[in-house]
């Protein structure tokens, strides 16, 4: 909204010593932020324009006008505000043209004032009015339209003027629209209405969408001579819903939806008639004044305990100053001991000010926040319940970045349908946005690595090796376990924190790349991470391998007996469909799951140092490549209780071994609570070899 300094000066005497910049700053500091101050040209009377962001005055219907702003200025400058005299309209009694106004539902329209005038001459409005309108960004049209705009900007009350001759039978009904009823609005658009909307209609047709826009059929044009002025108050929620449904917002609807003061109807109507008479001296009122209304102004009475006010502010503000501030803003004050009985003025009473805290704000903002000192709160020391999961998350980020050398990325929570399709995910599991801002971000991610692949794409031309991780939420279109609202058994969609990382390296040369290095690196990172968190990682075969993965190189991650994630290599097919030119291994871990495993783990306890030394023996053998490490390891560890640790230290595959064979080399640690002899250990190991020969057909090689 734009405010003209010249216009404000109609209502308040601003001392010459205050520059426009100073005034703008004061408005910012006491009322609402002034975004910009613009000086107008000489032909616009050297006016100064203050710009206010509409969003910052949604709570203040009274500030959508020059008079309302002038009241604020008068208050913080502590100068006089020009009072608006409401001279009653000279009503016609004899020989009046009869007009009818009928409100069907006063809940939707609590007041409708109307009056008819004749001998109107449509022409340009006077130069002074045109200048003011142009100054605040409004295009002059003709004297009648300009007057309605002018009065709206002056007092904040939107009004509408109809051509009286175009209203059938001079009768007006304020009623709900009929379903599929059509009206052509002033912007020349056909608007299809429904019965949730409110229209101004004559007996035949709607002539305006109430509070939003008039219709073309009843428009004032150059041949108009008689008019009907509407000054009304419509239900703000109805206006808001209708304007959202129609996608039609106007200067009028923006104001009506802010809960306007119904008393304004009268002030605006009087002012309009006054201006019309000034511009068209021959014009005369030809009807009685219609004022259909049913409302009780909620003149809130708020009891204000001054001691409480000081306590909430934390500073004592003098009673005299408090009373002065409130009176300048239009509040009525009565005193009863230490209690102020405050009456809220009608322009603040519709919704804005209802409780004592609202009054505190009025006092403290005019007093000035910067005149309040700061004092740290005095509170008891509470129980500090630190958020274990959050601490773990921070730890994990540090391990991955500083320890494992990965860089942390943040990605949007959104993905495209195409991404989901290309990777073969279940689309029905993804939540969908109703109003996405771009076409490639329409769904919510169901995993993290989908967007990490995009990161690889963005970096692949510049970076040879890419190592990126992300921690963030995934979202599933199924009820989760977080309460949704105040109703029992309503749950928000499933959302949980995940960790994913991606490793990418050199160009893929052939369709069957045998290079498992990246896969091994990824597993190393997982083992490193979990070791750091005091638990061991196992890799167990997955029963189901997702579409996007290379079906030979994909495995589940197990920690503390639970599957917490997977690690896998992107298949060549997937890579090329995504235009990825590097070999990629990616892993994803359900952090929520991992957190709960870790938090429920008993705390680490010191182990007594072993009194007897271990004996370490190496063991190497050749075995069929399809026999799994996990199975062999299990067999060894279960073979004898003296075998305390089994560590695989080398895997070799090569032509020397013959096809589909691998050589595995192990360190076995034998230990117990007495001194072991070599003889004893040799015997166990020999038996173990026999056992492994039986179970896995291993061969001991001679090197």
């Amino acid at each position: 909204m734009y405010l003209s300094l010249n216009w404000l000066k109609d209502f308040v005497n601003i001392p010459e010593s205050i520059t426009p910049e100073e005034l703008g700053l004061k408005l910012t500091m006491h009322t609402v932020e002034i975004d910009k101050i613009k000086k107008q040209a000489e032909k616009l009377d050297n006016d100064v324009i203050f710009e206010v962001d509409n969003k910052s005055i949604t709570n203040r219907p009274d500030l959508w006008s020059h008079y309302g702003m002038a009241r604020e200025i008068a208050t913080f400058l502590n100068v006089k505000l020009k009072q608006i005299k409401s001279t009653p309209l000279p009503f016609l009694v004899k020989g009046a043209t009869k007009i009818n106004v009928k409100i069907e539902d006063f809940k939707l329209c609590q007041r409708y004032m109307a009056v008819a005038l004749d001998e109107i001459k449509i022409e340009d409005s006077p130069e002074w009015m045109q200048k003011r309108l142009i100054s605040v960004g409004m295009r002059p049209i003709n004297n009648i339209v300009d007057i309605t705009n002018y009065v709206m900007l002056e007092f904040g009350q939107p009004t509408h003027i109809f051509d009286l001759s175009k209203i059938f039978n001079k009768s007006i009904i304020i009623r709900n629209a009929k379903n599929n009823e059509i009206i052509k609005t002033l912007d020349k658009q056909d608007r299809k209405l429904d019965n949730s909307m409110l229209v101004i209609a004559d007996k035949e047709k709607p002539i305006a969408i109430a509070g939003i826009m008039g219709g073309v059929d009843s428009e004032v044009d150059n041949s108009t001579t008689s008019i009907l002025i509407e000054s009304a108050n419509f239900n703000p929620i109805l206006i808001r819903k209708t304007s959202q449904k129609l996608g039609l917002r106007s200067e009028a609807s923006i104001r009506f939806e802010k809960f306007l003061d119904p008393n304004l109807c009268e002030i605006a109507l009087v002012r309009i008639v006054e201006l019309i008479k000034e511009f068209c001296p021959k014009a005369k009122i030809i009807s009685e004044l219609k004022d259909e209304k049913k409302y009780s102004l909620n003149h809130n009475i708020i009891k204000l305990d001054l001691e409480w006010v000081n306590k909430i502010i934390g500073k004592k503000i003098k009673e005299k100053e408090i009373i002065k501030i409130l009176q300048n803003l239009g509040f009525g004050i009565k005193k009863n001991k230490n209690i102020l009985i405050v009456t809220v003025p009608s322009w603040r009473a519709t919704r804005d000010i209802t409780i004592a805290e609202d009054i505190v704000e009025e006092i403290v903002r005019i007093h000035g926040y910067n005149n309040i000192q700061s004092i740290m709160p005095k509170t008891e020391m509470g129980n500090l319940s630190n958020n274990q999961e959050h601490l773990l998350e921070r730890k994990i980020k540090n391990i991955l970045s500083l320890g494992a050398g990965l860089s942390e990325a943040h990605n949007y929570s959104f993905v495209s349908e195409e991404q989901i399709n290309k990777l073969g995910f279940e689309k029905s599991l993804a939540l969908k946005l109703v109003n996405p801002t771009v076409a490639h971000q329409t769904m919510l991610r169901t995993n993290l690595f989908m967007n990490l692949l995009e990161n690889v794409k963005c970096n692949q031309a510049m970076e040879e090796v890419i190592k990126i991780f992300e921690i963030g939420n995934i979202y599933i279109n199924k009820p989760g376990n977080i309460e949704k609202d105040n109703k029992i058994n309503n749950k928000l969609p499933y959302q949980e924190k995940h960790l994913a990382f991606v490793l990418a390296n050199q160009q893929i040369k052939t369709s069957i790349s045998n290079n498992n290095d990246l896969f091994q690196q990824a597993k190393n990172i997982i083992v490193y991470l979990l070791n750091y968190l005091n638990c061991t990682a196992n890799f167990v075969q997955a029963s189901l391998i997702p579409n996007w993965a290379d079906n030979k190189i994909y495995v589940n991650i197990e920690a503390l007996g639970k599957i917490i994630g997977w690690v896998g290599k992107l298949s060549f097919k997937t890579s090329s469909s995504l235009n990825i030119k590097k070999e990629i291994v990616t892993a994803e871990i359900n952090l929520q799951e991992l957190f709960s495993l870790l938090i429920n783990q008993p705390t680490l306890k010191y182990q007594e140092l072993p009194k007897f030394p271990p004996i370490i023996r190496d063991l190497a053998f050749v075995v069929d490549e399809k026999i799994l490490y996990n199975d062999i390891k299990q067999e060894i560890i279960n073979f004898n209780a003296l075998i305390k640790q089994v560590e695989l230290f080398d895997v070799y595959q090569g032509n020397k071994l013959g096809s589909s064979k691998k050589n595995l080399a192990w360190h076995l640690t034998y230990q117990t609570n007495r001194t072991l002899t070599s003889l004893e250990v040799d015997k166990i190991q020999a038996d173990l070899v026999e056992q492994l020969k039986k179970v896995f057909f291993i061969q001991i090689r001679d090197f």
Binding site: R240, I312, S407, H410, Y475
Partner: protein, 344 residues
């Protein structure tokens, strides 16, 4: 040759060879030849064990003396060779250290960690909250019933999910304030918590706007909490973040869930108050909307507003990170561009 002569001859031989040795590896070979496990001198010393008592005493002593002498000579020669070698080759002491490759934490994470530590030191808990949120916790319980005009202040992403009244009732949270009432319900009073996290607005993106960014919500509820307390705590935090006394200004704001509502601006970190484009020529940067928790919100949280009062604030975390590092394009944060990420 008797044993004695043999020993003396061996000694002469060793010492003579040592004089001509200029190389460490040659020296090492000599050491093995004479003093090693199967070395010549070692062999003789070993054979002493099998001699008769008289001979043993005599020869044994001599042999040991010779061994000591030879060992000392070896050490001496080795020392002089090493000294010479070092003196000969020049060491470029300015050669660089080898870079140990490490990863990088996202700049938002780094600043967030710093802030968390600051608040934890003042006794605040760190909480998380849902990012897909109900209309109820994102708006209604924050004193923004349906069709409240203040809902316009935040462009909202709605999810394709309707309630029984056929209305969209799920949103991407527009602020971390969605956790306010959840925290009150879960932890009661007194309450001191912060909620760092990502929030969403359905806006078109450009260098200054993104539909996804980070906030850090703060909430403190206790007996006798006042506006002066709010100002003091936020000042402490700003000083902590910027590690110097920050100049601030406080002006009225509007958020339906606080009353009174304020905006805390800091003196523009770019122009230092002299007015520039970054501060829209005001000399100030909007950083911290705040206010006293509205009694209606306390009521939704099950807290008696007659006994308790509190304050809340919502720090623009992403904005703060941009200020701190001088980042001029907000879209970099979610770009995954390693050239950006590796700078932090």
């Amino acid at each position: 040759m008797n044993m004695k002569d043999k020993l003396l001859q061996l000694k002469d031989q060793v010492l003579k060879q040592l004089v001509n040795t200029k190389d460490v590896s040659v020296l090492r070979n000599l050491e093995i030849k004479y003093l090693g496990r199967k070395g010549e001198l070692t062999k003789i010393l070993r054979s002493v064990v099998d001699m008769g008592d008289v001979e043993k005493k005599d020869i044994g002593k001599l042999a040991n003396n010779i061994k000591t002498e030879v060992i000392n000579k070896f050490a001496e020669v080795k020392n002089s060779i090493l000294t010479k070698t070092v003196n000969q080759s020049f060491v470029d002491v300015t050669l660089p250290g080898k870079i140990i490759d490490h990863g990088h934490l996202h700049p938002v994470t780094q600043v967030q960690n710093e802030l968390e530590d600051l608040f934890i030191s003042m006794g605040f808990m760190v909480l998380d909250g849902p990012e897909v949120e109900s209309d109820y916790y994102n708006f209604e319980a924050l004193n923004m019933p349906p069709y409240h005009p203040a809902r316009d202040m935040q462009d909202t992403f709605y999810l394709d999910h309707k309630n029984k009244e056929k209305k969209y009732d799920l949103v991407m949270r527009t602020h971390t304030s969605n956790v306010q009432v959840r925290a009150m319900q879960k932890y009661g009073v007194p309450l001191r918590c912060i909620v760092p996290g990502v929030v969403f607005r359905s806006e078109a993106t450009d260098a200054c706007h993104d539909h996804t960014f980070y906030q850090l919500e703060g909430l403190m509820i206790d007996k006798d909490i006042s506006i002066t307390n709010l100002i003091a705590v936020t000042k402490k935090v700003l000083n902590g973040i910027f590690k110097k006394e920050m100049e601030i200004r406080i002006r009225p704001g509007y958020f339906p869930f606080v009353e009174p509502a304020i905006e805390i601006d800091i003196k523009c970190t770019i122009c230092n108050g002299k007015k520039c484009s970054a501060c829209k020529n005001s000399g100030w940067l909007e950083l911290l909307p705040a206010g006293m928790v509205h009694p209606n919100v306390l009521k939704y949280g099950g807290i008696d507003s007659k006994k308790y009062s509190g304050f809340a604030f919502g720090l623009g975390l992403t904005r703060l990170v941009m200020m701190k590092y001088g980042i001029n394009d907000i879209r970099l944060f979610n770009s995954g561009d390693l050239r950006f990420l590796k700078q932090f």
